[in-house]
């Protein structure tokens, strides 16, 4: 019964989306004002219905209702609770339902709370949101129905892929999806503003919190995903330039650019067409990345929900939305009037520079991701990896990060170089000294990590300088947010560069009782014994590790064997110190009874994820600041309006 309710509610929501589209469309035509009032309630109702549908699917998974095809194929009655819950979105259909849920709910929230925008632009935005949603409703209902019943209930579910049975599954996909799909709001805002020709500071101020919110989730999602891949794949790497990873990076790059150009538009009424364009591109990147991987055209180590048969459906959707939005942009771009002017040496110009650099990186990642597809058309099978992505993106990333030390110090519109030279000298000196120190002390490391360490250190220090001369108590939250986020990027870069420059690895076949060392750490294999979990058994090694002769700690790397479905997974063991992280993996038993063990000592690698979280935290600070500001502004306006009416009445 629950499955039927879920499906019916989903169809109803799709019907509401059709209504929302047409009501919004006719409300924008002359004489169609009558329908203007229903668009907001329709959007809210649509969000509620889809949420109910998603809850129904969660309930089916928690109950392990094996008469539902999706549950039988992906769940198991013996699975721990958290994986039953997370299993809801650990498959193609469920994750598509999550996608549409976020899309409809965020549309509903926009309809509920957005008061700053011109009413006709908002209606156009909601109509746009409905239009985008419809494609995904069609995709879900016509070709990926999550509520499909089996003719006969299955005796037992097939279980969840062992690689996914990790706490990461509970957090990473939902956060990432909120980020991906949250960008659909920016997309719809851009379309709405193009339709009503309302591109201006008010539009940017209204769009900014939504972009910021999606961007925060995207940042957290990418950071969490990187850490999950790091500890679960057992390869010791945290970023592989795999298509799935690039699919999350590309919208993040576009959203970062959008966020900054939004600021320019909101504060200075410049970069109008550019901001709208980025609004379109950001969500287009979400769709391109996700669906290239989903359709099975590109393969990935992280892909869990590939569905090659629906490839053409997906490509058609992409063509309609991206092509449609770009066509609309092409038609309307000339009606977007030029913004305010600014000088070559100004905050705006530095933001333009970084926007262009971000788009350059985006282009490089996109080309690298698509290149295997292009060559395959000519019969050559290639793969593109770090030797391409790292140096080529660094060519754009390093100037960008250097500029991040300068841009925030500049004034809007026009500034004098002499005003900031003394301040900029501080991070410049840090970069130069660190670079010199690294070159002298570690001449053997490669050039990219060298530059990464120097630039990361400079950015981590230089990002605080915009606070100089400010009253810290009165500094707006948005400025704090910028400072923290920029510092976070520097910290993350330091972690990444240090990992790449200083990691040491030890591979060895060991008997119980043998000792080894990796970096500053002495290791001893104490014992190997079988252990059992709720739905797995494992061989577990007990390894003691002592840092520079200090008190030993114990690590338990495992090789797990899952029963439902059958599968194997190495469970790495980590020991984190403030100077770095020890990473231990248990391999196979050799013919001679020795066990293969693999250890890494990765100095300062935790800074990488700490930096990612700092970036997200900076975004959160900025979001709080912006929303509080808007609330205040609305209150003041209300008060003014109220006094005015009172005065009128007195007269």
């Amino acid at each position: 019964m629950i499955a039927e309710i879920g499906l019916a509610v989903l169809w109803m929501a799709a019907a509401l989306a059709v209504l929302q589209l047409f009501a919004g469309f006719s409300a924008l035509r002359p004489g169609g004002k009558a329908l203007a009032g229903v668009v907001r309630p329709l959007a809210v109702m649509q969000g509620v219905l889809v949420a109910i549908s998603f809850l129904a699917l969660i309930d089916l998974f928690l109950e392990t209702d094996l008469s539902v095809k999706l549950v039988a194929a992906n769940s198991h009655s013996m699975k721990p609770f958290i994986f039953k819950l997370a299993g809801t979105w650990g498959n193609h259909e469920g994750s598509m339902l999550l996608w549409i849920t976020i899309m409809a709910v965020s549309g509903g929230v926009v309809a509920l709370v957005e008061k700053r925008l011109r009413e006709d632009t908002l209606i156009a935005t909601l109509a746009g949101q409905a239009f985008v949603s419809l494609g995904f409703y069609a995709f879900l209902l016509l070709s990926s129905n999550p509520f499909e019943r089996l003719p006969e209930p299955a005796p037992e579910g097939q279980g969840l892929n062992p690689l996914l049975q990790d706490i990461g599954l509970a957090f990473h996909p939902p956060t990432l999806y909120v980020g991906y799909v949250g960008l659909s709001v920016a997309f719809s805002f851009a379309i709405g503003a193009l339709i009503t020709r309302d591109v201006g500071p008010a539009f940017a101020r209204a769009m900014r919190p939504w972009v910021l919110g999606a961007w925060i989730f995207l940042t957290v999602g990418i950071t969490a995903g990187s850490y999950w891949a790091y500890y679960t794949l057992g390869w010791g790497g945290w970023w592989f330039w795999d298509p799935v990873e690039n699919a999350s990076l590309m919208p993040w790059l576009a959203a970062t650019a959008l966020l900054h150009s939004c600021s320019v538009l909101a504060s200075r009424n410049a970069l109008r067409a550019w901001t709208v364009m980025l609004g379109v591109i950001a969500f287009s990147m979400s769709m391109v990345g996700t669906f290239l991987v989903r359709s099975g055209i590109l393969t990935s180590v992280h892909a869990f929900a590939v569905d090659p048969e629906r490839g053409s459906f997906i490509l058609a959707l992409l063509a309609i939305y991206i092509g449609g939005a770009l066509a609309l942009f092409g038609i309307r771009a000339s009606t977007v009037t030029e913004g305010e002017r600014f000088s070559l040496f100004s905050r705006e110009a530095s933001l333009v520079f970084n926007n262009v650099m971000l788009c350059g990186i985006l282009g490089i990642v996109l080309l690298g991701t698509l290149y295997p597809l292009m060559t395959e058309a000519f019969g050559a099978k290639v793969s593109v990896g770090p030797p391409y992505f790292n140096p080529v993106s660094a060519i754009f990333a390093i100037p960008m990060m250097l500029m991040m030390g300068v841009g925030p110090l500049l004034r809007w519109r026009k500034d004098k170089p002499s005003r900031i030279t003394a301040t900029v000298a501080i991070p410049a000196l840090v970069v130069a000294l660190v670079l010199l120190a690294v070159v002298l002390m570690f001449p053997s490391i490669r050039i990219l990590p060298m530059l990464g360490i120097a630039v990361g250190a400079g950015l981590a220090v230089g990002s605080w300088l915009p606070l100089r001369g400010r009253n810290l108590r009165r500094t707006p939250f948005a400025v704090w947010g910028m400072v923290v986020a920029h510092c976070g990027l520097g910290v993350a870069l330091l972690g990444a560069a240090s990992e790449s420059a200083f990691s040491t690895e030890r591979l060895a076949a060991m008997n119980v009782g043998d000792t080894q060392s990796v970096g500053p750490i002495a290791l001893k294999l104490e014992k190997i014994e079988p252990v059992a979990g709720p739905n797995w058994t494992a061989i577990e090694a007990t390894v003691t590790a002592s840092y520079k002769g200090g008190t030993p700690v114990t690590l338990h790397p495992q090789a797990r064997t899952f029963t439902s479905p059958p599968g194997e997974r190495t469970e790495s063991a980590l020991h984190t110190r403030w100077t770095g992280q020890l990473y231990a993996v248990l391999g196979n038993e050799g013919d001679d009874g020795r066990w293969q063990m693999r250890f890494w000592w990765k100095p300062f690698v935790p800074l990488l994820w700490l930096g990612g979280l700092l970036v997200a935290f900076g975004g959160l600070l900025a979001l709080i600041g912006r929303v509080a500001q808007d609330v205040k502004r609305v209150r003041v306006n209300d008060k003014i309006a109220f006094r005015k009416t009172q005065q009128d009445m007195l007269k």
Partner: protein, 155 residues
């Protein structure tokens, strides 16, 4: 962009300059990417191709084929293995140091990432079948005859 924002240049010109800057940067990125891709992309080989037209030494490539039955040997350090990858037409010796994937066994498919050193393919990474549903895509790309040949050869 003018040095004097209050006069002189027209907004229209500023927009034009911005568009040109963006285009130049993007075209630059594109050219750079195209150049780097043609140098850095790693090509996929089956043993027959590798023997027919060997790539330059040390260039990153990938090799796909079947692990020949009875060819897998572990060296005395316990972590370096030698095996032979074949496709029914040619055979390539492969060396790998590290922990093998769980389902890496003889007489099954493998894709190795690495480079040629002399006549030996030195692998940095092995991608084996994850489970019965997962086949490295390049294995799936072999023509049915190729696959059949490979299986017949190695069984």
């Amino acid at each position: 962009m003018s040095s004097n924002p209050s006069g002189g240049i027209k907004p229209k010109h500023q927009r034009l300059v911005l568009i040109i800057v963006a285009l130049v940067a993007l075209v630059g990125a594109g050219l750079l990417a195209a150049y780097a891709l043609s140098n850095q992309a790693s090509y996929f080989y089956v043993p027959a191709d590798l023997v027919k037209a060997p790539p330059e030494q040390g260039r990153a490539i990938r090799l796909g084929g079947m692990v020949e039955k009875g060819s897998l040997k572990t060296r005395s350090d316990g972590i370096t293995i030698d095996f032979i990858v074949g496709d029914g037409k040619a055979r390539v010796p492969v060396r790998y140091t590290g922990i093998t994937p769980d389902l890496f066994v003889e007489a099954s498919g493998v894709v190795a990432e690495g480079r040629m050193e002399g006549q030996t393919f030195v692998a940095d990474n092995l991608l084996a079948k994850h489970d019965e549903n997962y086949v490295p895509r390049q294995m799936g790309d072999m023509t049915p005859e190729q696959a059949k040949q490979v299986v017949a050869e190695t069984q």
